[in-house]
Amino acid sequence: MGKKSIIPFGPQHPVLPEPIHLDLVVEDEVVLEATPQIGFIHRGLERLVQTKDYNQFIYVAERICGICAFGHSMGYAETIERLMGVEVPKRAEYLRVIWHELSRVHSHILWLGLAADAFGHEALFMHCWRLRERVLDLFEKTTGGRVIFSVVKVGGVQRDIDKSMLSEFLHVLDGIKDEYEQICKAFLDEPSVRNRTYGVGVIPHEEALSLSMVGPFARASAVNYDVRMLGNGAYGDLSDFRPILSDNCDCYARMEVRAAEVPQSIEIIRELASKIPDGDIAVPVKGSPAIGSEACNVLEQPRGECYYFAKGNGTKYLDRMRMRTPTSQNLAGMAVALKGCDVADVNMIVLTIDPCISCTER
């Protein structure tokens, strides 16, 4: 029996994309317990809702996180629309979902690249990010931004996508399909990747349910839950939607689920692009949320379910804006997954929850 010792891991660590601190209690290179600690990048963005009006706050909301920027602006706008009883034009709903799914494609490809970097496959990382650039170019052409888009507004969207641009969307997405399949093959079939991920960081199905895990992290433990199933907005018009599940419950399963969600998102974009109705892209929104009015909303971000709550006070400034982000739900699961793993696997497990600490701390 070795001696117990505590290894501080993070917040500054080469493998971590964002700052999180872990106290790893180890014995003979085996992690006995992991205590996560956050609080390094709290910016007080929720408090800003009292000094920025509900139209201005949309630009703050999308700056909560650089990768789920579109999702946050969309989730916030939908919450305010519910709060004020605004009905958004159908075309705007479709455009929002198309952009949101495109941001899921870029987020998952980014994550796959980071995962490749974590297990030391530099070439794979480069190829992933090269493909992601093409998705970012699509964003740049349609929204004018690469990371922060500022294209959603309360009552609709600010820019339209015409037919020729929609067909370019599909053309570009078809173009990356072949290369993406090769990349997936490298991730899922390569023995060196399998050795690093297979059977590592297992969270059984029952435990995933009891820890209220969300997103691809939970779906990799066969938790059949995806907010898109609820059919909010344009998701309701999809002919068929089934969450992608895996019952391996390990790091490999998480990679498998994310890898399969990219083609699924491309299919959603394809279907919505063929069904998109003509019409207005926004309705004018006047007035302020009523005193004491409350609204909540859920949205499937690339990392999982994100919950929004807003409370009005009769002025154009909100009384309260609360977001519960997927990473805050998944941190408990991560601590469980780390128990019993090797120290060398810690970085892989931390990465497979796709931690977004900026979202979590806001």
Partner: protein, 180 residues
């Protein structure tokens, strides 16, 4: 064998043109709708201050007294909200990024007098000679008095316009006027 899983793609990359460009010698073509920087059409601006009040970062300042519209490019996040609230639609998004700067200073745009008020002054100036017959009853030399009044208002307008110019330009204009 891991190498061969990516072999096709890696080998193909050898014969493709590079994904990146040699910046700054080469630059990528910017799409038309890119959020580069905010531009003001000063002729159409009425200095209402809606952009100033609505800006989430507070980077725009409208000074009605000095007739200036200024923007701090370092603070601007190119959200475009000012463009949507502008009643005269005189703000627009230029697809080119604002050039880098080593000095933290605001870009100041001088907003010229609107056409409407200037026209009103001209009308006022032309109306005065029309009052000649009435004034003629009271004053012995009405034409001269009217002429001096018109000249006085013109001088005032000129002086106000010269005051908006920078010192060097203003000195040149004054010298040209004196020579005339």
């Amino acid at each position: 064998m891991g190498v061969f899983k990516l072999g096709k793609m890696t080998f193909g990359s050898l014969f493709k043109k590079p994904e990146t460009v040699l910046y700054p010698v080469q630059t990528k073509e910017q799409p038309a709708g890119l959020k580069g920087h905010i531009e003001l059409d000063a002729k159409a601006c009425i200095l209402c201050g809606m952009c100033d009040r609505s800006c989430a970062t507070g980077c725009i300042t409208v000074d009605k007294q000095a007739r200036t519209w200024s923007i701090d490019r370092f603070q601007c996040v190119q959200c475009g909200y000012c463009i949507t609230v502008c009643p005269k639609k005189c703000l627009s998004m230029d697809p080119n990024y604002a050039p880098a700067s080593t000095v933290h200073a605001s870009d100041v745009v001088e907003v010229p007098e609107q056409d409407k008020p200037v026209k009103a002054e001209k009308v006022q100036a032309t109306e005065k000679p029309a009052e000649k017959p009435k004034a003629a009853e009271r004053e012995p030399e009405p034409a001269k008095a009217a002429e001096t009044a018109v000249e006085k208002t013109r001088d005032d307008v000129l002086e106000a316009k010269i005051a908006l110019l920078d010192e060097e330009k203003a000195a040149k204009v004054r010298a040209a006027l004196a020579a005339r």
